[in-house]
């Protein structure tokens, strides 16, 4: 398995990235749909940066790995209790 690189980012960076990123809202989805949707969408999206909004804890681990061929790095940022934003940088 090829491990994807996880990096840390700050709150300001997230706000900046959100402006130019494609945002996919996956709230309410549970396994295995976050991974399926992520894989489906990632090829169609032009943007370099994709932010996935999810409240599924597992997705923070599974989604980045599910699209590992398409991304160079990712970051998980907690936006609230049980709320996450997964930032994916496309290759």
């Amino acid at each position: 398995m090829i491990l994807v690189t996880e990096i840390e980012i700050s709150d300001e960076e997230v706000k900046q990235l959100e402006k130019k990123a494609k945002i996919i809202n996956m709230e309410g989805e549970v396994c295995p749909y976050p991974q399926i949707i992520a894989r489906e969408q990632i090829q169609k999206i032009e943007n370099d940066i994709i932010i996935i909004e999810t409240d599924h804890v597992m997705a923070t681990k599974a989604v980045p790995q599910s699209v590992f061929e398409y991304i160079s790095k990712y970051s998980v940022w907690k936006s609230g209790s049980g709320q996450y934003k997964i930032v994916l940088w496309k290759k």
């Binding site: 549970v30 599924h56 681990k61 599974a62 599910s66 209790s81 049980g82």
Partner: protein, 365 residues
């Protein structure tokens, strides 16, 4: 009506239950993920943790067994074609619903309504199964198919059973060293006290460490009670609740409830049922303090996943018998043939369902 042998057992039960809950939640440890994500993306995050957990439990159990734990603590089921079918059904339910037996529990503690639904559906499955047991499952499913006598290598080797996990660990170490993938020294040196911070604790834990922890707790549980199992005590809770609704006589007259679930007609709260409650509680506590807790409403178009998946899991776990924990975790740790056979059916069910669900995006295997 609570049965326990001593206050110590009760305290240990609570500690073990909470421990499991925390471990599962923090490790995002789900068997479905272990298998499905490997098939779909060759993601081995949880799979390695699971394997480590199984080996740890094997080692711990065989040591405890040699030191005198009664062999009645092993659960070694007779097996046959029925195991494969049961495991298969369970595997389908696992992937379609989105969680295994333990995963459903810890995620219920995290606040997912989807998994509450799955649990309720599984419980309904138990009730339906019990009513069909003597008319159908006993004469046409179990008696013709479950014909081979159960066997566990660990249990049968007795004192020398410790050699088996030691052998397995050694061969794994040698294999990994050969492939130069083992950086054990560097990994262990990273784990010093200073690296443990509140932030680290609050975020996800490495699944391998969680797997190891689960093996340890499972061994403790083996000493206190016996085989680690989830759907067993779940079914007991359903039975107890059901008996309070429709009256205990109806259940006493049902062979499945009276003889199989509550063997000997002993309708009381046992330690494993308490452990289950504290597992959910532990997961809740862990989620709450890590900021992972949120009441997550189920999506309308996924309700059928929860209900169908839960029902299949309910039936599958009764047919196999056992769920992913008792077969794939405990069963493999005991090197029990029934565990292997059921796990095979389970993996088959997971594989086919994963291929089907990921049909639009493709699978790695």
């Amino acid at each position: 009506m609570i049965e326990y042998s001593g206050l110590l057992s009760l305290i240990l039960t609570i500690v073990i239950g909470i421990g499991f809950g925390i471990l599962l939640q923090k490790g995002r440890f789900c068997f479905t993920s272990a298998l499905r994500d490997y098939i779909a993306f060759k993601d081995t995050r949880v799979l390695y943790g699971l394997l480590i957990g199984i080996i740890t439990m094997m080692l711990g159990t065989s040591i405890a067994y040699s030191l005198g734990v009664s062999n009645s603590h092993f659960w070694i089921s007779n097996y046959g074609l029925s195991n494969i079918i049961g495991g298969f059904v369970f595997g389908i339910g696992m992937v379609y619903g989105g969680g295994c037996a333990s995963g459903t529990l810890y995620r219920a503690g995290e606040g997912y309504v989807h998994y509450w639904l799955m649990l309720i559906s599984a419980c309904a499955g138990y009730v339906i199964f019990a009513s069909l047991f003597s008319i159908f499952f006993l004469p046409y499913f179990f008696t013709p198919l479950q014909i081979f006598e159960g066997f566990s290598l660990i249990e049968s080797l007795g004192q020398i059973s410790v050699l088996v996990p030691i052998l397995i660990i050694l061969s794994c170490v040698l294999y990994l060293k050969k492939k130069q993938q083992l950086n054990l020294i560097t990994n262990i040196s990273k784990l010093n006290i200073s690296s443990i911070s509140i932030n680290n604790l609050k975020s996800a834990w490495d699944a391998k460490i969680v797997g190891f922890g689960m093996g340890i707790f499972a061994t403790l549980w083996f000493i206190v009670w016996g085989t680690l199992s989830v759907t067993g005590p779940q079914a007991k809770w359903v039975g107890l609740t059901y008996s309070n609704i429709i009256g205990i006589e109806s259940l006493q007259g049902n062979i499945y409830w009276n003889n199989v679930i509550f063997s000997g007609g002993n309708f009381s709260i046992s330690l494993d049922m308490i452990m289950l409650l504290f597992l959910i509680l532990g997961s809740f506590i862990s989620a709450y303090f890590s900021g992972d807790f949120k009441i997550r409403m189920v999506k309308k178009n996924r309700v059928q996943n929860a209900i169908i998946g839960g029902m299949l899991m309910g039936f599958g776990s009764r047919m196999a018998p056992g769920c992913n924990i008792s077969n794939t975790f405990s069963g493999l740790a005991f090197l029990s043939v029934s565990g292997f056979v059921t796990s095979l059916g389970l993996v088959l069910g997971v594989y086919i369902t994963t291929r089907w669900m990921f049909r639009k995006v493709g699978c790695a295997i």
